[in-house]
């Protein structure tokens, strides 16, 4: 049962084939069995999960029914959860117990979902391999020598290994989509402003966006129906009606105009990965879509612009971790300055410190125009490129990542790691919705197909993703080596 999609589990719960308590227990058992090797969870909330499951069963007995009622899920440890440790993958927050729920958490709780625990992640979401976590790297269930991608690596690994039915993630430069691609599952980043950031620990405020990590596009739509929508606690959340994302999943793709960016099929793309993407495109043609090559002329600037904007925002966002009010504080500080220095030196890992320094530098007097202002200009150019493209096409499709999951420790140079997100980063800079769904495996490892829509075209992106999943079974591939049942 645990390998099933949310849609299937929801039907089984509604039919009384299984209770939420039984289902929750099955996931908890599987977590016990595999989390040690995968390190997908930082915190498992056994008792609370069973209590939530029991409440869900009781609600159902009273006649309540909704798609997520009683569904066991995992929360990325970037979301504040009341009464539960919320670490953000950092020593800085190792002992931080949040006194409040993030809006995403609150909405999922209200929908009757069961929280199994909090998933591992790159520290403060800074990383593309989940190796920067203070709580150790996460392993890819397809091959435990390999990384699951990052920063939502724990969520991706947990979904792929059936340690939960579905999970939340966050995506600042590719942090939902790239791990989804590496782990052979579906990861959706909504448009900026579609999902509230209240209670989601900030990395880069103008880029961060929460979204589902799931076993299918349909499941992603079901979670989006719960988490999307205006939140008055987040001034950047959009006041715009939320569609029923599940309702349009089966719309026909006949006449769909697909654009493929020539820049995403150029040097650096692994040949086998490219073949998988081309196979998927052929499927779309069978469904009535037309394919046109498009130009995103400023795409090559996106990684550089991103690594100015994101660290700049992060350098300020992370200033609050100063040892004064909560979180880590160094032992026996001699004075204020000593407390600041040692707290932050000891509490943050190397990648976080690197980005704080880069961001601080980019904002410094005399450098602001050359870096931050220039990056914002590039950001507008990138957005214009997409605006032009969407005059000709309905969605843009390409690979999520140039290659499949790499081995732990394989990328030691930060810049090489930053280039991991070369296809996904521009989408964050432009604030667009994007999904990664499995294409045909390459060399026994999953590949990701990246589908990008125009502003707030969430329904279209999910529809296009779902139609491929209806007509192929790439998303149903499971990692070998992990037992299907605990």
């Amino acid at each position: 049962m645990i390998e099933k999609t949310v849609a299937e589990l929801s039907a089984a719960l509604a039919a009384g084939e299984i209770s939420s308590v039984e289902l929750t227990q099955a996931y908890l058992d599987r977590i016990k069995q595999y989390n040690q090797s995968l390190n997908a969870y930082i915190t498992v909330c056994e008792e609370e999960a069973i209590a939530q499951a029991r409440a869900a069963d009781e609600a159902r007995a009273k006649g309540e029914n909704s798609p997520l009622l009683g569904i066991p899920l995992a929360q990325k440890d970037i979301f504040c959860t009341e009464g539960v440790t919320t670490t953000c993958g950092s020593r800085m927050l190792e002992n931080f117990i949040s006194p409040y729920d993030a809006t995403v958490v609150e909405r999922l709780n209200k929908a009757g979902a069961v929280m199994l625990g909090k998933t591992n992640m790159d520290e403060f979401a800074m990383g593309s391999s989940n190796e920067t976590s203070y709580f150790g790297p996460v392993r890819n269930p397809w091959d435990v020598k390999r990384v699951p991608g990052g920063s939502s690596g724990g969520s991706a690994s947990a979904v792929a290994a059936d340690l939960c039915a579905i999970a939340t993630g966050t995506d600042t430069g590719g942090s939902i989509r790239q791990p989804a691609a590496f782990c052979g599952i579906t990861g959706f980043k909504p448009s900026y402003g579609r999902v509230s950031r209240w209670g989601m620990i900030a990395f880069a405020s103008s880029l961060d966006q929460a979204g589902p990590i799931a076993k299918s596009a349909e499941d992603a739509a079901l979670m989006m129906n719960v988490i999307a929508g205006l939140d008055e606690k987040d001034s950047t959340s959009i006041d715009r009606p939320v569609e029923d994302y599940a309702a349009s999943l089966n719309d026909s793709l006949d006449g769909l105009r697909i654009g493929i960016p020539k820049q995403h099929f150029a040097e650096g793309l692994n040949a086998e990965v490219e073949q998988s993407i081309r196979d998927a495109l052929a499927e779309y043609e069978k469904l009535g879509a037309t394919i046109t090559e498009i130009d995103l002329p400023n795409n090559h600037l996106s990684v550089s612009a991103y690594y100015v904007v994101a660290p700049a925002e992060a350098s300020a966002n992370l200033s609050r971790y100063d040892g004064v009010r909560y979180g880590y504080r160094c032992d026996n500080p001699a004075d204020l300055e000593d407390m600041y220095k040692r707290t932050r030196s000891e509490g943050f890992g190397d990648e976080v410190k690197r980005r704080i320094m880069v961001g601080t530098y980019a904002l410094s007097a005399g450098f602001y125009d050359a870096y931050y202002r220039k990056a914002q200009q590039i950001r507008r150019l990138i957005k214009q490129d997409f605006n032009e493209a969407f005059k000709q096409v309905d969605v843009i499709i390409g690979p999520t990542s140039p290659h499949t999951a790499f081995e732990l420790g394989a990328k030691t140079d930060p810049v090489t790691m930053y280039l991991e997100d070369i296809y996904t980063i521009a989408v964050n800079l432009a604030g667009l919705p994007g999904i990664s769904i499995p294409a045909a495996p390459a060399g026994g490892l999953p590949t990701g197909l990246h589908i990008v829509g125009n502003d707030f075209a969430e329904a279209k992106v999910l529809n296009v993703a779902h139609q491929l999943q209806r007509n192929t079974d790439w998303h149903k591939q499971k990692p070998a080596g992990l037992g299907q049942e605990a």
Binding site: R197, T236, R320, V324, R325, L336, A365
Partner: protein, 476 residues
């Protein structure tokens, strides 16, 4: 050498909103430490700011009152620095696109001369918390009640040329702010704070000298003293062949001196950048006009009206409008008393004297506007004379009863009964035959003496007009 002083003021006022600039916490002064700080004010991870729209409206209100350009698209920025009472490690402020742009206000000096002072800008920002260094055994305590309180920082042009002008500007600002009801603006409580940028230059020189910034000035009086001290200090340094160091100096009111606060000459790099958690604030003409329509009558307009409507002179009108409370008090007195001239005289002499003597604010005064108005009404309808009114006024200080009750109980009511007055007049005529004869011989001024005698006899209660008339008739 003759020196010219150049001063610019940076004035922070706490906007008197119920809740903070970006959170729902209360902003009351004097609460127990950290009882007005929620998860956002504590900068807990994941919390986000939401702009208090009332604070924005108050800032715009100020802008309109000084005829400033209103920023239709204002942008909040992060000003980055580490300090224990700055929970986020940055202060949200406005750098390039403030809500209030260039404006101006007019100050009036003691000699009646007027001067227009430019306001460069007024931007919105959040206040920091407080560090408490006593009572913590060598450690510091942090109180975040004030953190996030909305501030409007009003920056003047370097248009002020003396400490007196600076005080006049500050008082005018205070007056406008109180009229607008956008801040309590109490310097002693810190809801109005003033930093002064001071430099001097040889008279006739057009370039500015090196300036110092004086902080920690918490009363109007200290503004004048601090600036005067600093001007003298700079003059001494320059005349001794030294040079002025650009620095921040702290005013010590106990020693009446300014002291260097930071030894480093290096300017802080605040690494401002647009606050990504807030969208630019876009307002349209309709919004601005709605606020304009709601503006109260401001001191300058009120003064002009007092002069034209009540026939007051420039000085009296100026004194009466200086504070909103005084102007409101005066208008109430006029309304009830029915005589603006009398009201102006009473408010600016008797009442003002009383306030000065006791160091009271108008709100502390035991004689309410309603009662002073009734007192004037009783002068006007001849129930009492102006002289008796002063006795009543004194009595009102001790007795909170109505004016009529006081007049009644003390038997101060003016005698207007013609029979009683006739008796008085007869008595005076009988007792002063010489003076009566002198009057009859054509010596008009003796009448005054005789009226005085009658008044004395009545203990001041007789109606002097009636006495006058009757005496004249009887001596014809």
């Amino acid at each position: 050498m003759e020196w010219e002083t150049v001063i610019g003021l940076e004035v922070h006022v706490q906007l008197n909103t119920q809740s903070k600039l970006f959170s729902g916490s209360a902003t009351q002064f004097g609460a127990e430490p950290n009882t007005q700080a929620n998860i956002f004010d504590l900068a807990l991870p994941g919390t986000l700011p939401v702009l208090n729209e009332l604070a924005l409206a108050k800032a715009v209100r100020f802008g309109l009152a000084i005829n400033a350009e209103i920023g239709k698209r204002s942008v909040f920025d992060r000003k980055n620095y580490f300090y224990p009472d700055l929970p986020k490690g940055y202060q949200v402020s406005q750098l390039d696109f403030p809500t209030v742009g260039k404006g101006e206000l007019t100050i009036v000096m003691d000699d009646g001369s007027e001067k227009v002072i430019g306001v460069t800008r007024a931007h919105m920002e959040e206040d920091a918390g407080k560090s408490l260094h006593e009572d913590f055994h060598g450690m510091s305590g942090i109180d975040l009640n004030r953190a996030g309180t909305p501030l409007l920082e009003i920056v003047s042009e370097p248009d002020l040329r003396s400490a007196k002008e600076a005080v006049a500007y500050l008082k005018k600002l205070h007056s406008i702010i109180r009229y607008l009801d956008i801040s309590d603006a109490i310097m002693a409580q810190g809801s109005m704070r003033c930093d002064a940028n001071v430099s001097i230059r040889p008279k006739g020189e057009t370039e500015f000298g090196t300036r110092t910034e004086i902080k920690n000035i918490n009363s109007f009086r200290f503004v004048e003293k601090a600036i005067n001290y600093e001007v003298q200090r700079q003059q001494d340094v320059l005349e001794d062949g030294g040079r002025i160091v650009q620095e921040t100096r702290l005013y010590d009111s106990e020693r009446d001196e300014t002291r260097s606060m930071r030894s480093k000459e290096v300017a802080n790099d605040y690494r401002y950048f647009p606050e990504p958690d807030l969208l630019p604030v876009v307002i349209d003409d309709a919004y601005i006009e709605a606020i304009r329509a709601d503006l109260p009558e401001l001191p300058d307009e009120k003064k002009a009206r007092f002069m034209s409507e009540f026939g007051l002179n420039d000085y009296d009108a100026g004194v009466l409008v200086a504070s909103r409370e005084m102007a409101e008090y005066f208008e109430k007195v006029v309304e009830i008393g029915g005589d603006a001239k009398l009201a102006a005289n009473w408010v600016s002499s008797e009442l003002q004297g009383l306030l000065n003597k006791n160091d009271w604010d108008i709100s502390d005064c035991p004689i309410e506007a309603e009662r002073l108005g009734s007192l004037i009404a009783r002068i006007k309808d001849d129930t009492i004379s102006g002289k008796i009114a002063k006795t009543v006024f004194e009595a009102m200080l001790e007795d909170s009863a109505s004016v009529d009750n006081i007049i009644e109980s003390k038997g101060l009511k003016q005698v207007t009964d013609s029979g009683a007055i006739e008796a008085l007049v007869d008595e005076v005529i009988q007792n002063n035959p010489d003076q009566v004869q002198q009057f009859k011989d054509g010596k008009e001024q003796v009448l005054g003496f005789l009226v005085g005698q009658a008044m004395k006899l009545s203990q001041g209660k007789a109606n002097p007009g009636q006495v006058n008339k009757l005496l004249r008739e009887k001596m014809q």
